[in-house]
């Protein structure tokens, strides 16, 4: 799920780049040096996840992990996602350089939202942490697909069909991502609970 060069109109490209830049600056300002290792590990996980292809029917999809990154890093997940996308762009040619702002916004905002959703759900007694993580992970992917659809629709009517396909194609990804997030969070809970509880 990466937008290539030339898909978005200049106004959308510049606008999303500016918004992403502002969010990155805010993230850097509130960054504490003790959080660097955690961010590095989650950025590496996000970066590598794009290569884990899951076969779905005739095609295959890859993990996105905005939910898991958001759960572990909270508001700082935008920074991790952006860095992961920059490296994916330069090393794997996933997405365009001019569309980096839009791609960051598309993946970073759902990651931050997933973190907030996880905190609010896991605070209630009905939801245990893995279930909340599963829901947050799945919602993160769907939210990212919706943002992609909105950005594509802003680009013109020609992309409306692609936008619909993108949302539908990511429903199985959301389900898989939900399970992956739930299992990972349950593992963190047993091994290192402060990793998911210590988000400010």
């Amino acid at each position: 799920m990466h937008i290539s060069d030339g898909v978005l109109p200049p106004a959308v490209t510049i606008g999303t780049a500016l918004v992403s830049g502002v969010i990155i600056m805010l993230s850097i300002r509130r960054l504490h040096y003790e959080e660097y290792p955690k961010i590095a590990v989650m950025t590496a996980a996000f970066f590598v996840a794009s290569l884990v292809h899951v076969p779905v029917g005739p095609t295959s999809v890859h993990l996105l992990l905005p939910g898991l990154v958001g759960i572990v890093l909270g508001p700082l997940s935008f920074l991790a996602v952006t860095l992961g996308l920059v490296l994916q762009c330069f090393l794997f040619q996933f997405g365009g350089i001019t569309a980096l702002g839009a791609n960051s916004l598309m993946m970073g905002v759902p990651a931050v939202f997933s973190g907030i959703l996880f905190r609010s759900l896991s605070g209630r007694r009905v939801f245990r942490a893995p279930i909340s993580a599963g829901v947050a992970g799945a919602v993160g992917v769907i939210f990212a697909a919706i943002i992609l659809a909105v950005l594509l629709t802003l680009s013109g009517k020609y992309f409306w069909g692609v936008a619909k396909i993108a949302v539908v194609a990511h429903i199985p990804v959301a389900v898989i991502e939900g399970f992956v997030s739930a299992f990972t969070v349950s593992f963190f809970q047993r091994v290192k609970p402060e990793l998911i509880n210590g988000v400010t």
């Binding site: 960054l31 961010i39 970066f47 490296l87 090393l91 040619q93």
Partner: protein, 125 residues
Amino acid sequence: MKMWKRVGWYITLMILVIVCWVGICFPDKNVEKIIGSDVEEHTFSNAHHDELSGTCAELVIEFRKQNELMKRDIHQMKREIVMLRQQMEKPNIKDLIAGVGFIFGLFGVGYYVHARASINKNNRR
């Protein structure tokens, strides 16, 4: 009488010239049809000409067969090149390790600089 003889010779010579001209300017149509317009103009006798045009036609048919086979082979090679290019464009384990190393390195440097700045700030206080 002598004059008539001379006129007869002139007429025969003219006929010969006309025949030669017709032979040069209008070669066999069959050969032109098979090979195309870039035909080498020649002035052979009819029997020799037919024999040559038959050989040329066989050669052209063979040439076309070979051309078809070559075209098929080239198409297959093009497909294989495209597939190979796609395979090469796929990220490999080297890119993966390079990316992860870059991330850890970058955050390591960031950690060092940030931690050093924080410690210096605390020491000043």
